[in-house]
Every structure is written in C-alpha cells, then in structure tokens.
C-alpha cells in the first residue's frame, strides 16, 4: 500500500501531537545551548500547519507539504522556521502532483528536504545541527530503497539512523546556529534541532506502522 494524501495529513497531525508532547523537552535542550524556544516555536508552527490544512485536504501530497512549509515559515520564526519551512516546501516540490507516494517518492521528498535545509543554512555534517540527524536518515533510506526495500523498512532504518545522528550531536562542538557562540561549552548537550528532526522522521514511521503495511 502506498502512502496516500490521507496518510500525509495523518502524518502532519501526528507531528503536531508529538511536537506538542515534546515541547518542553525541546525547549529544555535549547535552554542548555540556545535560547529556550525551540519547542515553543515548533509547537506554534505545527499548530498553525493544522489550521492551514483544511483548505488543501483534497489536494495532492505536494500541495499539502508546500502548504505546511509555508505555514511553518510564517509562524515559527527563528532558525527553525526558515529551515523546516524550506524543507517541507522542497519536499512538496519533489512530489508535486502525486496522490500516492511509493518508497522512492518518500526518498525523493526527504532528499529534497535535506537539500533545502543545507541550501538555506549552509551547515556541514558535524556542525551540531539538524543536518546531523537528517543526513544519516536520508542515507539509510536511500540504501534500503535502492535495494528494493519497502517503505516501512526504509522508514525503520531511517529512524534508527536519525536517532543515532541525534545522539551523536552530544559530543559535538557546535559550529552553526546559536549554540556555536558557546564554543567548548556546547559539548555534552544534544542539539535541539537534531532532536526535532528525529521526531519528525520517527513520526513517518509511526504512520507507516499504523497502516499495518509492509
């Protein structure tokens, strides 16, 4: 069973729920090496996404994702807004016109999202940003998809990789974003953006698993 636009809508609802549940956690992480707003910002953003969805419920996956991206850009602010906003808009462009997404489409969307984040933020791997969670997830997914694996399998591997990438940010010294001002003091803390990225990828897995499909 491919991912349908209903699944995409479910996914955005799931993300909104998960971000809401992790609002304080993300903000705490941002307190340690940032300015204590990442959870608050992301939550405001995805609540706004939910509001905007009703007008595009019957549209293709690309339109839905682009709408979500625009909603994020105009409500999150900070670094997270342009980065995640661009990610969703680029993902939407990658699957423009489609109502059903196969594993290869998902991969294309995630690859486009990552490219968008890097284009906008210019972070390199190891800079202690969301890029450190998304990049390994995209790599893992690509490997599964290129070997003909299922969507579920691809998302499982991607989630594992994102989780590892997220945890790997702990010992890193930040070189981008607000945490970079802390220099050595940024070491030993998990990056909030990498954490939200993991949550966003894990939410895809939850949706896929919820469909009980292979």
């Amino acid at each position: 069973m491919p991912i349908t636009t209903a699944d995409v809508l479910d996914y955005l609802q799931e993300v909104a729920d998960v971000i809401g549940a992790n609002k304080e956690h993300l903000t705490d992480l941002d307190s340690a090496i940032g300015d204590a707003d990442h959870g608050i910002n992301m939550n405001r953003g995805f609540q706004n996404v939910l509001k905007k969805l009703s007008s595009v419920e019957d549209k293709d996956a690309g339109t839905i994702l682009k709408t979500a991206g625009m909603a994020l850009v105009s409500s999150v602010g900070g670094a997270g807004g342009p980065l995640y906003g661009t990610a969703f808009m680029q993902a939407g462009t990658a699957v423009a016109g489609k109502y059903e997404l196969e594993a290869v489409d998902l991969l294309a969307a995630l690859e486009a999202a990552l490219k968008g984040v890097v284009m906008r933020g210019k972070a390199n791997l190891g800079d202690k940003t969301m890029v450190d969670a998304i990049t390994p997830a995209v790599d893992a997914m690509r490997e599964v998809v290129q070997n003909g694996g299922s969507t579920l399998e691809a998302l499982k591997r991607a989630t594992e990789a994102a989780e590892k990438g997220m945890k790997d940010t702990i010992p890193m010294l930040a070189k981008k974003g607000r945490a970079s001002y802390l220099g050595e003091r940024s070491v030993g803390h998990q990056d909030p953006g990498a954490t939200s990225s993991y949550l966003l990828i894990n939410a895809m897995l939850e949706i896929a698993q919820g469909k009980g499909q292979d």
């Binding site: 307190s31 850009v73 981008k176």
Partner: protein
C-alpha cells in the same frame, strides 16, 4: 515565574495592544502579521528603514520607531526571529518609493528570515538591501561559529541611519552608512542573573549566588565563560579591554548585488580602535539592572578610554537593548566622525529615544 503578564502566549500581542493605546500619535500597530510602524508612514521619497527581531529586547526595536529612526519594526515571539511575511508586509506599508533597508542582527534565524523577506519584496519590484550588524567581540572567530552576534551597535545604527534617511540619503548611501556604523562598532555583555522566557516558565540557565556569565548575547543564553562575581570596576575593565583591544575582524556577509541582481558574498573588515579615536560610549542595562548602577560602569569606562587614548564624544546610558529582566550590562564603543556625530545629534522622536522633538 514572576512576571507582570497574563498568559505567556499573549505577552507579545498584549504588549502591542498597549503600545497602540499609549502612543497613537507616534506609531500604529498591524496585527497578523505583527509590526509596529510610524503613524505618518509612508514618507514619500524616503528610504524605509526597518528592523526586527525577537521580542524581549524592549525598547528595541518597536520603541525605536518614529521620526528620525525606524519606519517599522517587526517583533517576533520572545527571543525568536520574526517571520518573512511580517517583514515583507511592514516594508510594503512604509515603502515611500525609495526602497527599503533592513537592519538585521546577525543571528542565523534573523538572517534567513530577512533574506526570505527581501526575496519576496524584490519579486514585487521593491528595491531592498539587507545590512547585518555583527558587533559582539565575545565571539572570537567567524569560521567556526555563526559569526559575531548583533548587539549594542544595532541601537546606534538605527538612530544614525534613521537620521540619515530623514535627511534624504538614498538606499545605496544609507546601506554604506549602516555598514560603516557596523564595522566601527564593537560590544560585549555580561549577566549577573538569567532571565525567564515566558513560555518556558523557568530561567534559561542557573547561576550561583557568586557567579556571573561573561560574553553573553541578548537572548538569555549562557555566555562564553562563567566566573566568580567581581567588583564592577573589574567587570567594566574586562569588557572594555576586550572591545578596545579587539583586532581587525574579517568575515564574509551576504548583501544584495544590485548590478548582478543576486546575493553576493562581501568580505568586511572591522578596523581596530586606535589612539586618538573619537567614540560614542554606550552603557546598556540588560533590563533588570537599575539606573543607579549604570553611571558607576560609565565612570570606569571613561577612565579606561582616557587611558587608552580614546575620547568619548557622545554617550548613551540606559536600558535600550535588553534580555527581559536579566541583570547585567553591555558596553558598546562606536568610532565616530563628523558625519556620525551630526546624525547622532539630529532630532529623534520615538518611544525609547527622544530629543530635540
């Protein structure tokens, strides 16, 4: 959390409502997207000067909207960069036909959002330039960080460029002026206490009764170093010497290239201070430091400047760029010349800064 607020989520909205009621002759407020703009905007033929950033730094930026300073200010949520739609809508509201200058503090979020806004405006045929303020010497290099933060010099740039825009500087000349203020201004800050982001509900960091943070920014974030509390003379000396002895600072920023019609990397170098320089000395409270303590800082700063051969020709002392209720201070020195002095002295009439008007 002890604050004079209602619901944390309503702080910025209710603040804006209060400003609208309090200063109708000075500013108007636009909601959704939120921005503060001059009551008499747009001014035909004048470059529109706009800034913005997270809330919680009051009076910056909304308190600097008015004759002789900003045309509009875009307040984000507390400590969160505003969004591109706020910036673009504000620009369209105050556009007097001579283009828009965005004064952008160098934070990843602010930079990205203002760039998106500029792209949106250009798509509608409005000329716009983005000039960064990155003056915080606590950030040493730009290669392994997001570059120096925009702090105290922002206030001075807004005043000086505001006066210049009022005088009729065109977009190009105003951009050059803003860049000149930025490369000649340096700041550094410190905190005695943390502050509490309303929506977070607890202090961003914990500081012991005998500790302070040195090299903080303006977002309640911890600084670069935690150390034992010292007498203010030593603190002032530490900040002032870091500023005065700072060497040439080189980094690459993005500005719009009007010739090529694309974003271009521009290398900028801050020239170090030199004996004989005339400076504006700005002693700033982080919000919770009371007025009684600021002249004590100024007193020591004056002595240090004298010893280092810098002549203070103007000063600004007060809470102008703050981090909510944080106790602490920052010092900014800006090298002045006749042009800057004349523009600094020009009339200004805003909520937060007012003279000769």
């Amino acid at each position: 959390m002890k604050k004079l607020i209602n619901k944390p989520d309503d702080v910025v909205k209710e603040e804006l409502e209060g400003i609208a009621l309090a200063y109708p002759d000075l500013v108007k407020i636009h909601y959704e997207p939120n921005f503060v703009y001059r009551a008499d905007a747009p001014i035909k033929g004048k470059v529109g000067l706009i800034s913005g950033g997270g809330s919680g730094h009051e009076p910056m930026h909304g308190g600097f909207v008015g004759m002789g300073m900003l045309d509009a200010a875009c307040p984000g949520e507390v400590f969160t960069s505003p969004t591109p739609d706020q910036m673009a809508e504000a620009a369209k509201m105050v556009d007097g036909g001579a283009g828009i200058l965005y004064i952008v503090k160098n934070y990843t979020g602010d930079v990205m959002n203002f760039e998106m806004a500029a792209d949106m405006l250009r798509a509608e045929g409005i000329a716009v330039q983005n000039i960064l303020i990155d003056d915080d010497v606590a950030v040493k290099d730009s290669l392994y960080t997001a570059g120096r933060r925009g702090v105290g010099t922002t206030v001075l740039a807004e005043k000086i460029c505001g006066a210049a825009a009022e005088k009729g500087y065109d977009l190009q000349k105003l951009s050059d002026l803003c860049r000149k203020v930025n490369i000649n201004g340096r700041s550094m800050g410190m905190a005695l206490t943390s502050c509490i982001v309303p929506a977070a509900g607890k202090p961003t960091f914990d500081l012991g009764e005998n500790e302070m943070e040195i090299g903080i920014g303006i977002h309640g974030e911890p600084g670069q170093e935690r150390m034992a509390l010292k007498p203010v003379d030593e603190i002032t000396e530490m900040l002032a010497l870091n500023i005065i002895e700072d060497e040439a600072y080189t980094r690459t920023v993005r500005e719009w290239d009007f010739g090529k019609e694309e974003w271009a990397d521009v290398e900028l170098v801050d020239p170090p201070f030199q004996k004989g320089d005339q400076v504006l000395a700005f002693v700033n409270s982080m919000g919770g430091t009371p007025d009684i303590e600021l002249p004590i800082i100024y007193r020591k700063l004056y002595e240090i400047c004298e010893k280092k051969g810098l002549t203070i020709v103007r000063n600004l002392i007060g809470a102008y760029i703050t981090s909510l209720e944080m106790q602490g201070c920052s010092i900014t020195l800006l090298k002045m010349d006749d042009e800057l002095i004349e523009l600094w002295d020009a009339p200004v009439k805003t909520i937060g800064l007012r003279w000769k008007a």
